[in-house]
Symmetry: C2
Subunit: 185 residues, 2 copies
Amino acid sequence: MPRQIAERADLLPKLADVFRTRGYAGASLGEIGRATGLGKGSLYHFFPRGKAEMAEAVLAEIDAWFAVEILGPLNHPGDPRQSIREMCRAVDAHHKGGRRVCAFALFALDDTRRIFATALRRHFQVWIEALARVLVVAGRGPAAARTEAVDAIASIQGAMVLARAADDPRVFAGTLARIEARLLA
Amino acid sequence: MPRQIAERADLLPKLADVFRTRGYAGASLGEIGRATGLGKGSLYHFFPRGKAEMAEAVLAEIDAWFAVEILGPLNHPGDPRQSIREMCRAVDAHHKGGRRVCAFALFALDDTRRIFATALRRHFQVWIEALARVLVVAGRGPAAARTEAVDAIASIQGAMVLARAADDPRVFAGTLARIEARLLA
DNA sequence: GTCTATAGAGTGATAGAC
DNA sequence: GTCTATCACTCTATAGAC
């Protein structure tokens, strides 16, 4: 069947699922092949550099989603409180209410982070800076805005850790609600 | 000559190092053998159930350390502010100032968490409850103490994620200092 | 014929189990 | 050390679109 059955873009959500559940080291090509329904030939056709390129593409796609859904509201001029509300709604959607981890957080914790160091650094840096700018518009001083942004984003990541450890997504939802309340205060 | 050169207890710190840097799936027996200087035969002598038993032993050893260094001060009757200060000092030591991840957080994020679900749930639950009790002694209401404990511990975990992503341990130190200040407020 | 998407046998290396 | 299974990956073959 030589006709185009799969497109690279269609593969990315399935790849993301595998990396999110297994981690980078734990995601085997066998599992990836099963999840996508593709043989190794097809996978290497789309991603000539193999697993590393697949994970890069997944991170890039998440970043593209972030640019629209998270950074978009934050960079949009207007009511900073509205930007914060939209960010928190998007964060909840991204994490499926505490049931889905962020691949960036997952990759950051083990030595997978060395492979994707640049993407990891930029992802969180851009987010922190965008949130800090909104907090300045909302009336914080520049230094306080920066630390508050760091702490809010750290809390989001940590809430996912606790929710997964407790096997209870509500831990994430509860913490996210308090983060939003504090940012809006 | 089967003379006893290694003891199981002496292996645990080295095993912990491997699991912390590679993750559970990424930690191979080859790497573990290299780190411990032991052959596979010796490893299976000490841990008949293989890699899973090694990781269990590592988590149990961390929990034992936690019981003394973190839960000890929290459960010790006396000045709650002093308990909080000692907890934060122990947390900083445990994470080597942001340079070392917590194996529980690492295991919680991917599907390794299913293997160690009970240990993960209990680890954070016990910590949250002990910190919440201290906050009640410090004057918070029971519900506020509980949410504040959850948020503080989530922030600690998330600060490690950000510190690793930024490749800058100071991110952890800064956030931990602010967590301590808020708990003491 | 060329190009692209596919399948999968086959590579050596290495995995975990014993 | 020895075992088998599986790893990431390579390569050949092939079927259709042009």
